[in-house]
């Protein structure tokens, strides 16, 4: 009984310290655990791979400081894959922080693939308004953005002479943690115009994105795990792959905690303790 009481009263700092250690140790001493690629991630990769060269993509880059670690690697790998296939990419964001992160993360990749800003890719900027903004952008981009993120008039960008609305857009990608934006993209891009949609959601949003796969969303690259899988598929190993050992070990620890909690509750219940 004493042991059960002790288990039920482990101090929170001890639990947290072990959690931090289970994350930090594999970062210093990699365990090399295997990474299995999820069919949803592979579907996203294959969708892009099977699209013709020069396809036009609208990328809703809902990245914030808290999401960049989780989905940043997947976005970078996907952007590199698209640049390799000469895709034209239009970045915008429904989150105010998004364009800044797009500038920081995408510029080096564009340089690596020798892509010209304004010709091969643009950052349109911040578009508040949720689903209404998505609808407006797909109907007429110039109606929503008169200038890009850097203040250049949109008419001066060669790419924007070609791309005006949904008719020229072949693929829509959404990344972020906004639960309302996932169905919004399916409703406004896929259902309304038949545009292919791919999601790179935050961990908490994977469960909400899954019902749309595979008929309404062509692929889902979820959280850090999806990022690692995508890095593996595109052969661009980075931060996500190196974090997978930590993820596995910390989840083993979490599973251990859940089992421990349940065992102690069941034993105390059997022995006539309070629920």
């Amino acid at each position: 009984m004493d042991l059960i009481k002790k288990l039920q009263n482990i101090p929170m700092p001890v639990i947290n310290l072990i959690m931090i250690a289970s994350i930090a140790i594999p970062l210093v001493i990699p365990l090399g655990l295997p990474i299995k690629i999820d069919p949803m991630t592979r579907a996203a990769y294959n969708t892009i791979q099977n699209m013709p060269e020069g396809s036009v993509v609208i990328f809703d880059y809902g990245m914030t400081a808290s999401y960049i670690i989780e989905m940043g690697p997947a976005c970078n790998s996907m952007t590199a894959q698209m640049f390799e296939k000469d895709f034209k990419i239009l970045f915008f964001s429904g989150d105010a922080q998004g364009p800044v992160f797009a500038e920081n993360e995408i510029s080096p990749i564009a340089e690596e693939f020798k892509k010209t800003y304004g010709v091969d890719w643009v950052i349109l900027g911040f578009a508040p308004g949720g689903e209404v903004a998505i609808t407006a952008i797909l109907a007429d981009i110039k109606n929503v953005f008169s200038e890009d993120f850097y203040g250049t008039p949109i008419d001066n960008l060669p790419l924007m002479e070609v791309v005006q609305n949904h008719e020229q857009i072949d693929l829509a990608i959404y990344t972020g943690g906004g639960g309302d934006r996932l169905p919004a993209w399916v409703r406004q891009a896929n259902t309304a115009y038949g545009t292919t949609v791919i999601f790179i959601p935050a961990g908490g949003m994977i469960a909400y994105a899954t019902p749309y796969y595979p008929n309404q969303a062509a692929g889902i690259v979820g959280s850090l795990r999806g990022s690692a899988e995508y890095e593996l598929l595109t052969r661009r190993p980075g931060a996500a792959i190196s974090g997978m050992d930590s993820l596995s070990l910390s989840f083993l620890y979490l599973m251990f905690l859940v089992i421990l909690c349940n065992i102690s509750v069941i034993i105390s219940f059997i022995k006539g303790g309070k629920k």
Partner: protein
């Protein structure tokens, strides 16, 4: 060695956030407030900039923009008690617009296509041979969809077969909620991995240990250092 103050500040802020794992403390609260304040300020400026460039500056090209600008200004009426009722009009307009835009494809997206997606073959053959995994997977989808839907049948008393069905549906829902919680945990752990990766990888990571010791002392004994008043 060149000291990179940006990295050191990053290490300090990262460690300050992690210090909450041990105890709520003034250093954590300071860093949290700093983040919230800077993020709120940034969002405010971005919104104002957007309203200025896409609204006021474009007014000469499109005079109709005056309507959303006026509606936007009316929103701020809620700051003044006497005329706060004025803000209800733009709010009503925004709500109606949102509902209208989403409803045009709502039935097709979230009802018809979801139903057609769950209408699956009960026995699956793959290249001439029986695919047990896919068959089982389809069976689970069909049973879970029908039993979960039965849980929301409120027009009949839940007894007999309906009771069994709703119980099965409830179990499937619990599994679904469990999955949502697990994926949320995935998100939280991923953020910690990223933070620790930054702390370990950056050249200024060598400052991590002394900064960690300082923050730990400050966070565990805030009263002794004078960061917090002693409780009476």
């Amino acid at each position: 060695m060149i000291i990179n103050w940006v990295e050191i500040l990053g290490v300090f802020f990262g460690m300050a956030i992690l210090s909450f794992s041990f105890k709520d403390n003034p250093i954590y609260k300071f860093v949290e407030s700093l983040y919230l304040g800077s993020a709120a300020g940034y969002v405010l400026i971005m919104n104002l900039n957007r309203a200025y460039t896409e609204g006021f500056l474009s007014l000469s090209k499109d005079p109709l923009l005056l309507i959303p600008i006026l509606l936007g200004i009316m929103m701020y009426a809620r700051l003044f008690k006497q005329i706060s009722w004025v803000s209800r009009y733009p709010l009503a307009f925004l709500t109606a617009l949102g509902i209208g835009v989403s409803t045009r494809t709502l039935i097709e997206t979230d009802v018809l296509k979801q139903i057609s997606s769950s209408a699956l073959p009960l026995i699956v053959f793959n290249q001439g041979s029986f695919d047990i995994i896919k068959t089982f997977s389809n069976l689970i989808i069909i049973i879970s969809v029908s039993t979960v839907v039965s849980y929301f049948l409120y027009s009949r008393e839940q007894k007999g077969i309906l009771k069994t069905s709703t119980n099965i549906g409830l179990s499937f829902m619990m599994i679904g909620f469990g999955t949502a919680v697990a994926t949320s945990l995935l998100s939280r752990v991923s953020k910690t991995i990223g933070l620790l990766q930054t702390l370990i990888i950056v050249p200024s990571g060598i400052y991590m240990v002394p900064i960690m010791i300082v923050i730990l002392i400050l966070s565990v004994f805030p009263e002794k250092i004078g960061l917090k008043k002693k409780s009476q």
